[in-house]
Subunit: 338 residues, 4 copies
């Protein structure tokens, strides 16, 4: 950690500060500079609170040099983490996984019908929302437990493992029992009690990035799950909030190589939320694969104009069917398989 | 709601769409235009899902004309809502309220000491964090229930009502019993289960704006609480995420007149989080009052350099003491009192 | 254009407003609604100033339905525009073009050396900055005319056409004479005098998107060039400003299909500025091609650690050489060539 | 400057890097750390290119400690700079200045009429746009020189000094001769050729912040003018681009104390562009004064519904008249005068 102090700082004050850091077991290196005094702190600075150091009227700048994540850090865990789901693995050089299904489960019949369709297209995980986080209290809030049971039926019929979003830890047991991958939605990325709760299970967790989370904050949320004991974390980028009006969100695909370089966790892209527009999904899906993503999470609906939510960003199965062979070719071009 | 359709849309398709809307009890007005077909929908469009309409390949643009919030809407509730806390009210033309205290409760002794100090400065609510949402799992997570009990002691000693952040609905009872105002933090602004839970109480709820929430989304989160039965909502702006590096967050004070014009709810400003820098708190506090805010929520600590969190954005009581007379003068200049 | 007015608006005022619009040759369609009065205006609304309509105290919302660009609009110009450069074309289904070279021209020797190297890698345009827009007045500002002459020499030696950034219209003649593609930088995207000036030539213009321009504003800047008489516009995305700290900029590849769907102009991606980090360039380049980009603009330097600017985001020729065969495979996967 | 290098960096490579820095006259301080090697560079690092240092595959992080601006820096110039305009000064503890007038000059008669009205309200500078930067080439582009002459007439009639926006250096002479304050608009904040040109005059320059400029970039643009020889720079904040939809721009008033603490230059706020809505101007104006701004730049029009541009964010003179006494009271509350 680097601390810059004003030249007018009394030596005595500086001495007190140095003593304080040394009492915490840190090494303090003073760097003589013209305009400032500079301390370089080494040792285990992870527990230091930057904000308190900055509270001193003599301190100008406090900069952490080392990254704050440990368990997710590729530097300490060079090999790729693979997450086992049903009979396959996600991450590393494994097959790129396609997860698809409707935004909302609307009925048992619907989720079985769409599940069958996306399986035919090549999907290997079925997605479906039973508990829905909606901006408006007046919008459809999901079928709840009934939706989870409907998904379970769809799993039995299609053989596809299922993924669904958990919004509150009081439903955790229900999800652990019934669902193959637990999704933590963007709005709950920093709901730390929920992260700790899923961290105490061994279930695969798909952790979506919050709308305005930095990549570091997102990795730190993964760190909550990992440090609670669950190594099965899949990161999922779904676009961030920006000023653009032609898309629902802004998705920087540079996150794919960044996550790959900095962590050992698998990363999946959700082009439906990233764009909000089914006409953009194909291009963004192919780009995601080319960038190195380990999977795609696509909203699919056989009658999007009648969908209870997110129709505009759902692909019809026939469009999904067109996308898959192209996606396979791009995957092959970069030496992977889908 | 205005729907624009491509000129190439077959009349038959358009007829079907019209019939669909009419079957939902809406009136459909067709506007002849050169480049598009346009439908103007009137009636109760609140339950319509825009996204599904946009899913049609013929639809170009879907625009909602009416605002989606009802209970918070000043148009339907012209008089200011006042929220009763202890023996005073917040909102309308009531006295501007000052809430102050440390980011984290560190001990019973500390919160009593700081509580006493901020009361002397003129604060009428004591803030203190017992459950802390921290970006890192390795940072101090708060004293928990012990912290709540310490705050209660501070309340007994100082007579100040207390505000603290609730992170999870399983602690709701603890908060209802012990705390005067329940704070919902920025990270949980769209934790809808939590909003519904506090909406089922009658406690005053201070709802912070999320880092990247639009003003409309923030009001919609208030709507969750209001529509669950609790009218005692206080909005709190604490800065949004932006690209600026010299401040922790970006705070647009235009939210104050916007909230006042669009809703009837009180609004409080948190200049500590908005700036992240105690040297900026005074200017932003005075500006907030001039803009019409109903209160200030300021982090205060008597030894910020030793604070367990947020030291850099905490005012020392002596600085708070300097701020208050200036704040009183600005309040008077705009015809209010602090 | 849709205009919503408060229900309390006096009929007389509404009559005056209607008469005003009709006097401008527009058709006014009134839509009866419960909460508002609504006007739908049709006819040529392009010259209407939305802001003045909103100035009325009775007006709530003003929404333009039709897009404001005409010449760039694919609806009125369905076939792809191709831009001729030297003996090849950019856009449509043409070969994907690779433009590469140093951020700054440092000497004649340097630009010839790097030009030769990037040509060997497969580049078909040589980039180089002679006039440099630098944040600091104390940074290297470019070699100026000397740099342009050095590029010309490099063109003679390598046979590659050259692209360089024009910052001010008083150098326009110099550029028209010597340069094959004139680049308008992000900072000058809304320097309308400069846009009009290059619009009066027939040179190919590469128009970079400004750091915080919406896609619509960017297209409108292209419209300035097109409407001044120059059809040879190539759009170039180089990342927008966001809150992320791990990258220099944020680049949403969804712009590629959006530009392709809404306009007929070619689009090129600059992964160097988009990421600011050479370690991310390969992944973003492959993703750009998969998304459908017509070209790449990559900073390349044979000694980036000694580069006078932008070293961190420059690829060494040997890295560029590794990238090309992968890029060719991805291009082939989507049915194009590079 | 702090440079962090990977532990795997060969000592030989590190030696070369150290020698390189020393050859530039810098002092290199090595800090032993567990996970990294760290260099602290002291001496004149202003000319160092961070990007090139980062280009090394061994370098992890490069952080500049000292701020890059010198002439604008309050540390080297502690007293406030005052800018003389006509017979008064702007900045420091001088009277807060009110600049008002229409977005566009529409005719000589109009600018004289509005100039007379705003003078009566208490304005001491008349604003008016003659050359207009418009997003669309099809919008009114301003009266040009005719507009400048009309403003000059208004100056003669009212005695008010005038401010107008310069878009291109080929009109510089026209502005130097006729205008009292030259405005550089947000879109040209990084048009460095234009900054250098106005820097070679001695005219007061009002430099607006660009839509997505950081505060540091904005100060660096001021530094261009200052380092070209013109000390008469007034900064003007007009809101930045954000994701909010209820306002045109987002304006963080924390910039006022930040500019005051970091530089010695005057700062003026433009609440018209910041909000885009005349109903928000009063609150934001009062807040700006409370925050410590040295002036306000407000768009005023006596018939905003017929204004040729920016009607929605223009105050009618009668509204301006209501605002002034309130503004005077707030100014007095913080110990200043308006």
């Amino acid at each position: 950690m680097i601390i810059t102090m004003k030249k007018e700082m009394p030596r005595e004050e500086m001495g007190k500060m140095r003593a304080h850091f040394e009492s915490l077991g840190l090494q303090v290196h003073e760097i003589p500079a013209d305009e400032f005094y500079i301390f370089g702190l080494t040792g285990d600075t992870a527990s230091l609170d930057e904000s308190s150091i900055k509270a001193s009227p003599w301190v100008e700048v406090v900069r952490r040099i080392s990254v704050p994540y440990k368990l997710a850090n590729r530097a300490f865990h060079p090999e790729d983490s693979l997450v086992q789901v049903a009979d396959f693995k996600i991450g590393g050089q494994e097959k790129i996984v396609l997860m698809a299904g409707p935004c909302s489960v609307e009925s048992e019949e619907q989720i079985i019908r769409i599940g069958t369709a996306v399986k035919e297209c090549g999907a290997s995980v079925l997605r479906g929302g039973a508990y829905k986080p909606r901006t408006s209290p007046y919008s459809f809030q999901g079928l709840g437990y009934e939706g989870i049971l409907a998904m379970k039926k769809a799993k039995e019929k299609t053989g596809l493992p299922i993924i669904s979003e958990l919004m509150s830890s009081d439903k955790l047991e229900e999800f652990v029992e019934n669902v193959d991958i637990i999704q933590i939605g963007a709005r709950n990325m920093q709901n730390y009690d929920l992260l700790k709760a899923v961290g105490r299970t061994k279930k695969p967790i798909l952790l979506k990035r919050a709308l305005s989370a930095t990549i570091e904050e997102w990795i730190m949320s993964a760190e909550y799950i990992l440090s609670s004991g669950n190594p099965n974390v899949i990161l999922c980028e779904r676009g961030i909030r920006g000023f653009e009006k032609y898309t629902r969100n802004t998705m920087d695909l540079a996150v794919v190589p960044i996550i790959k370089q900095r962590t050992h966790l698998p990363i999946v892209i959700d082009p439906s939320h990233a764009t909000g527009d089914w006409k953009l999904i194909e291009a963004v899906s192919l780009a995601s694969i080319a960038a190195g993503a380990d999977g795609l999470l696509i909203e699919a609906h056989d009658n999007p104009e009648k969908a209870w939510s997110d129709g505009a960003q759902s692909l019809k199965p026939e469009k999904l069917k067109e996308l898959i062979p192209k996606a396979k070719l791009v995957a092959k071009a970069i030496g992977r398989e889908l």
